[in-house]
Amino acid sequence: MRVWNRRQAALVFFALASAVLLAVALCGPLLAGRAAETDFSRKNLPPCLAYPFGTDWLGRDMLARTLAGLSLSIRLGGLTAGVSALAALTLGTAAALWRRADCAVSWLIDLVMGIPHILLVMLIALAWGRGFAGVTAGVALSHWPVLARVIRGEILQLRQAPYFLAAEKLGVSWGQMMRNHLLPHMLPQFFVGLVLLFPHAILHEASITFLGFGLPPEQPAIGMILSESMGYLAAGRWWLALFPGGALVLVVLLFAGVGERLRRLLDPASIHE
């Protein structure tokens, strides 16, 4: 067997994990019908070959429900992480380039980070009236501070870099500076930050749905599945909680792994390892 070097191994992992995540995300809409199908002749089956994740008290196939839930999580995670990252980019850049905005943004970051995260997501979800809009807004509007701080720090550091100062003294226009110096430096960082936002977004979406502020019960969301399973734990139906939760952890780990690999591949400091 050929032994890969680190870079190749990272690339292979990156490709495989992305393919798996993409497949899960795409299969959700296809499985929606199957996930909602109830059949009382097969209710409460423990895991078997036909139903690897078992069935619930309405005879729904837990594998289909889990996959549909994960797909929803990934799509929602993509949407919220995207919005969050854009907010972080705007605020971080504004804070770095404009002194007056810096104070305001710093205070806003302190404010958002001063409230325990779940509470904040809960409050924002309430303001949007719970449901799909609530979760999306809650997760999207509460995840930007960390990335905004990173972006602000990077730009501030970049502005002190010799090549940037030289370009400034040579009278290069702002647009050109942005295009030639700022963007090439910031884009990789931004993408890595974006991907690393995913796992947090997915976890918080599941948590808030679990608490009952998120997606409506008829949606096969992981948080909902786990919250429903709580009532059946004492009856010994362990598969209702174990497999969906495990699958969620797996997806989160894959995202974290993809982000980490991406960082290693893009970061100039570790690219040649």
Partner: protein, 330 residues
């Protein structure tokens, strides 16, 4: 140390402004909410049997028609005087509800805080000292998996294992069901607190361990450790004598800064275990659009988080003279 008082004063002023901001944000978000507190807190049957006049009186009593700014100001003026209002959900003064809930939660939080710090610190130091070898890989793998695990699922698993399969620990609540509150012994309380505290501290410990490991690995690469090893010190001795002190400081900061995460986690864990703490009250208040209670919970948790960060800053200055002289602190 003449610079201390102005420094603390400035910090406290910032904190007060921050708390004010938190309360404004909470109030605004709750006011924007399209959910109707009257509908959420009066049962459907009662709502149907109420006459329009009664409904109007109730709405007026709950201040539905008062402008938001006026409502906020009256809340604020009462709050600073110590009157937090009356909870719509529990129909008791918020202060009383908060007192009970906070007392329950504090035990859980304190236990999880200490446990996660000790466990996370120890694991992080071990992993960092053996970086690249088997113990490190093992610890790092477990911690990565744990930190990607939602706290509530961990709680569910613990219930499943210890409550349902092994039947050694209770599955929920802070005391046996149906027991009189006077008759509950400390042992019973402890037994009911084990699983929630474990669930809460495991997720916290994972993050702390991963951070400590990074620091420890850096320290192990340093010249002073290399010199100590070259001089013939064994690895454990070098770690104990030189390594620990250097990871203690970031560890301390992290330990106080993670209070927010811990509070957030307690909301989820208390929900799983039906533990009657502040987190569960927050969920109940949120679902019932109970503005006074939710405001109090948010402001109190924000104050706790701020207190944690402030303590971390002060301790850093006390422990490390470099930071003090560096001008960050007086």
């Amino acid at each position: 140390m003449g610079g201390w008082i102005p420094w603390i004063g400035k910090k406290l002023l910032r904190g007060t402004l921050l708390l004010l901001g938190v309360s404004v944000v909470t109030f605004t978000l709750m006011t924007c909410s399209p959910l109707d507190p009257v509908q959420a807190n009066v049962g459907q049957a009662a709502l149907g049997s109420m006459s329009g006049e009664q409904l109007d009186r109730l709405e007026a009593h709950w201040g539905k028609n008062t402008p938001p700014v006026q409502r906020y100001l009256s809340w604020l003026s009462d709050f600073v005087r110590g009157d937090m209002g009356i909870s719509l959900r529990y129909r008791q003064p918020v202060r009383q509800v908060m007192g009970q809930r906070l007392a329950n939660s504090l035990w859980l939080l304190a236990a999880a805080w200490v446990l996660s710090g000790l466990l996370g610190g120890a694991l992080g130091v071990i992993a960092g000292a053996c970086r690249g070898r088997l113990p490190d890989r093992l610890i790092r793998g477990i911690c990565l998996a744990l930190s990607s695990t939602p706290g509530f699922w961990l709680g569910l698993l613990l219930v499943l294992i210890f409550g349902v399969w092994l039947r050694v620990l209770p599955v929920g609540f802070s005391a046996p069901i149906g027991a009189e509150s006077a008759g509950i012994t400390l042992l019973q309380r402890l037994r009911h607190g084990i699983l929630p505290a474990a669930a809460l501290s495991l997720t916290g410990a994972a993050d702390i361990a991963l951070h400590t490991r990074e620091k420890m690995a850096d320290v192990m690469e340093s010249y002073f450790i290399r010199f100590a090893l070259a001089r013939g010190a064994s690895i454990p001795a070098a770690v104990l004598r030189h390594g620990l002190r250097n990871v203690a400081l970031p560890g301390l900061t992290l330990q106080f800064a993670c209070l927010g995460e811990l509070l957030g986690g307690s909301v989820l864990v208390e929900q799983v275990f039906s533990y009657p703490g502040m987190g569960q009250a927050a969920v109940a208040a949120g679902l019932g659009s109970d503005l006074p209670l939710l405001m109090a919970i948010t402001v109190v948790s924000a104050a706790l988080v701020f207190g944690g960060n402030l303590t971390a800053d002060v301790l850093c200055g006390l422990v490390d003279p470099r930071i003090r002289r560096g001008g960050i602190l007086p």
